[in-house]
Subunit: 239 residues, 2 copies
DNA sequence: GCGACGATTTGCGCTGGAGCAAACGCCGAC
DNA sequence: GTCGGCGTTTGCTCCAGCGCAAATCGTCGC
């Protein structure tokens, strides 16, 4: 599970949204409080309900955040890419993780204890303000998802989901934009509130129309404009 | 629109989550920066997209926060009761209001400008940390709604919605818990992602069964346990 | 008192998409 | 090479609940 150690530098923490705009001295202080781990693929970073809460961020790799109810049904809350923070909301609510976090690739993960982070926020208010910015973006996104789920049909929701993932972490490839997470149909369904069957049907059609290619759980959007049209068109068919 | 002036005291701001735990001197400072308005029923506090952003809180009355897409479909993001803050996320995202806010009753509303609030947060980091707590609770709630919309049938969603409203602002009445917002069927539908028709059908059944009474847009839950059972039962019918 | 408007209820038909089951393709283990 | 497991595709059935229309009930303005 734990592999080679990773040598942490000031650059590493300086690149995180949470510590943007801090003076070098503060960054060094952050560095001291940072715990760093290297984790293999398919391994739990934390579990829903756990009480040993820390605030986390990724330096490398990707993580899936998912939430499940007692009925076994689960949703994917979000995918985390390098440089993003996660698991920090637990510190400000009921002091338990609200979701599961599982590595999708090998990752380098850093984290801070609750007292350390609160201490940093108190002495460098910019850290708290940065956190508010991150959380603000996420709440906006969550509300957007609520609206989607309430008002839009499955194909539009899938389209929005792909666009959001592409915007969050997409990489230009020779033939379009690649989404750098290993995505199963089930994951996509769990993000946008549908079943793996419906996702499969929708993607198959789009692939036939040349809007995207899907292989090995890697998805490349080759005709962004087409997907955007599907996502935004008030009525799916013009008529 | 603006009626009688309201005399603001230190107590008023001390009761807000945002300023919890501040020393008296700080509260006085907050007081100076506070703008206070009295608004009539059915009037806009701000509009989705507006750029003159401020952070708001209610001292009295209630407000409906709703969001609508170009297609006209709208959702209700939440209801705001006295002492709650709202509209503040705009300061930390794209500096436009993300939703509409409309008064449901006569209200007393206070607000702060962006520079004033950031200034306060910088000098009293506790304010930023308080804000994180509020936002954390809301993000948790938003994610919960996403999961509900993805996995649960209409009656369960309505039940959850009523319970959430009751928990947020419910008042003990002689015959149960009253939800103190003027609620139309459409509002309930817009909160939990269904139509006013479906809400009506569900509520009618529950009213016949004696779980609640509904009159004049006032809703009283008379049998909380029954509603909770509906909301939580893994399978709606026990078999 | 009367008409208009807003909220609610209820009947009914229709469909998006959930939820099986079955088949297929691919890869890694042995 | 063969087998088993995982992810995916696709056909088919079925129903929750959307959305329209129409009736009912207040309430407010005039």
């Amino acid at each position: 599970m734990m592999t080679a150690p990773y040598h942490l530098t000031r650059r590493d923490v300086a690149g995180l949204d949470l510590f943007r705009g801090l003076p070098a001295a503060a960054l060094d202080e952050v560095l001291v409080k940072t715990q760093c781990r290297v984790l293999a693929r398919d391994c739990r970073v934390f579990n829903q309900g756990d009480g040993h809460i820390r605030a986390h961020a990724l330096l490398k790799g990707s993580v899936r955040i998912s939430q499940s109810g007692r009925d076994g049904k689960q949703i994917v809350v979000r995918f985390i890419a390098a440089s993003e923070m996660f698991g920090a909301m637990a510190l400000f609510t009921d002091r338990r993780y609200l979701a599961d976090a599982e590595t999708l690739t090998e990752v380098v993960e850093v984290s801070w204890s609750e007292p350390d982070l609160l201490n940093l926020m108190t002495r460098y208010p910019q850290v708290a303000i940065n956190a508010l910015k991150v959380v603000g973006r996420r709440i906006q996104e969550a509300q957007y998802r609520v609206r989607e789920l309430s008002t839009q049909p499955v194909d539009r929701r899938v389209a929005h989901t792909l666009l959001r993932l592409a915007k969050q972490a997409g990489r230009r490839a020779h033939d379009g934009v690649t989404i750098p997470f290993p995505l199963r149909r089930k994951d996509i369904g769990d993000i946008c509130g549908t079943t793996l069957y419906s996702v499969s049907r929708v993607l198959t059609v789009w692939e036939r129309q040349g809007f995207l290619v899907s292989q090995d759980q890697q998805l490349t959007i080759t005709k962004l404009s087409a997907i955007e049209r599907i996502a935004d068109d008030e009525h799916t068919s013009p008529v």
